[in-house]
Amino acid sequence: MKTVWVINRGWGNNLFSFSKQTSNLSNENHNELLRRGVVPIGNGRSYGDSALNSGGDLLSSNNYNQIIINEATNTALVGSGVILEKLEQELLKYNLFLPVVPGTAQITIGGAIASDVHGKSHHHNGSFGDQLLKIKLLTSTCQELELFPTGEYANFFWATVGGMGLTGQILEAEIRLIKVENELISVEEQRFTNISQAIDLFDNFNKKFLYTVAWLDISGGSTGRGIISGGNHTSIVDCKKKKSEFSKSIKKLFLPKTLYFNFVSNLFIRIFNIIWYYKPKKRGLVEIRKFMHPLDAIPNWNIVYGRKGFIQYQFVIPTEQADSLQEILLILRTNKVFSFLCVLKKFGRHSKGFLSFPIEGWTMTIDISRKHPNLSQVIALLDERIIELGGRVYLAKDSFLTRKDLESMYKKLDLWIEIKKKMDPDTLWKSDQGRRLDIC
């Protein structure tokens, strides 16, 4: 059979690899796969190069698409290839939902575990890894291992959660669920004019709401103002006023491919941010998937940055460094970074995965066009400051870190490397990000 090599890109369109797809790992193809390694892939929503493998193989999870819901225990056994959107649709039929969902539902369960995703509920529920009861993992020796968060293989479990696919291919997972009475979220929004107000509002909102997040305006003089949103699941009583939209699928707008040029100029961002900041505040009931995944309404929104693409930079700094958020905004403003997609969130507890991103503190996510003239210098400045503040950058969004940065940010890196060597002695599991960070 002829080998087909294809170009694969990260979601940010800033990095790509020339790789071949493989659908299974077996003893027959093992030696050939060792040449450049394999990385398990999901739905290609990592922004950088964590799901790329130049000259090597990408191992698809498409075959692992089962969903088995256990209503008695409020758990689900889900294949790693299942897209979150599909799982949510299935769960809502049983008045169930995931306690943690990220900003997009277009990721696979395998990807959610490998990146240990987090969402608007982190201050209450932690990250995705905290909801897992069990993972089934395919190792480099083609064995299927069952891993649990405690017990004999707990280290393997926590190396895999947030391990960016470099410990093995996740095949399925048993996930804890929450009961919901309907598919609606009761939402409240409030504007703030500066970051100090946002910090105070978060303290109140985090106590009052299960889901909280803030949008920040990053456009010159207006940098720092924004809108905070809070949401809670509603009871049946609250829903009487709004007809259930459960049976309808979410409307999506696909941008035409011919739009593949960057129209996200600074002027466009300024105008957009003004309109967004002054839009009427939401107060009322919103369909759960619209609240959780607003950008999924435009599935290919990433093409608005054109061929050069963009980077998404997400960092977290400890709670006690909250005052430094203003300084970081100043770095962005001084370096003329404009963004229409900047999100602020207050995290709860540290995640347990050795390379998991969330720590107790403040996380900010910014989209920056690759056309920015001093992009690498801005990122270097931010990385340096984040390290000084004891923070870290999210590997699922990263495309700049070096091995030295990683060592400074992730104190359990040595432990993770030690466990990876045990789990993957031949170093079968490799990615371009792993090569760049020199961890595989």
């Binding site: 950088g48 000259g55 690759r370 700049f400 030295k404």
Partner: protein
Amino acid sequence: MLNGAGQFQNVVLFGGNSDIGLAILKKLPMARDSTLILAGRNLNYNEVASKFPESNVEIIEFDFENIDKIDILFSTISKQRDIDVAILAYGYLGEVGTDTLLREINQQILINYYGPAMLFSKLFEIFRNQKHGKILVITSVAGIRPRISNFVYGSAKSGLDFLVRGSQNESKKNNFTVSVLRPGFVESKMTQGLKPPAFSVKPDRVAEDAVKGLLRQKKIIYSPAILNYIFTLLRFSPDFIFNKLK
């Protein structure tokens, strides 16, 4: 591997004493904590490292006249790391004139063709395996048409140029680029003592042209760029005109 801004992490220069090679290294967009590996003769680590304070510099002592030991060279260039850019920048200008033909031909062919060709073939396999990166081979406009003063040198460069150009189709299929850099007369250590003719350039200018061409994935890069047009004309000019250009 590249980072999100398209900066290089790991670059290798074959010909660590080359003025053009070193100038190119200075102009390349390098990532933080990048690694520069320089292979050549009598390289002084401190001197080289001081020129590139923001990169990690590694020196490999290697005499390119002993090209049969090439496997040792490549085993030292760590197989763990992918190479983002490889630059073949060493050469031997030698003496000029027809009376040097027999004396010079061994050296010229060995250093300017055979050695780089062997090196290039090894690099080609590495890049074909990794499916990304750029190889830049410095040839010369002297290889376009034989001139009385340096036809032996030109013949070797021409052969190397031909080899590299011939591989460009295969490299494109494997997602890496292979470029030839054809500089004119460059005022450097190699040409010290020679009178610079028209259109001569300094290594910095060559480096600018080279990096610009590399980033645009150009197959042939001239420096200065005007030589492209000049040599296109000269290629077809009659002997009685061309031979006046010694």
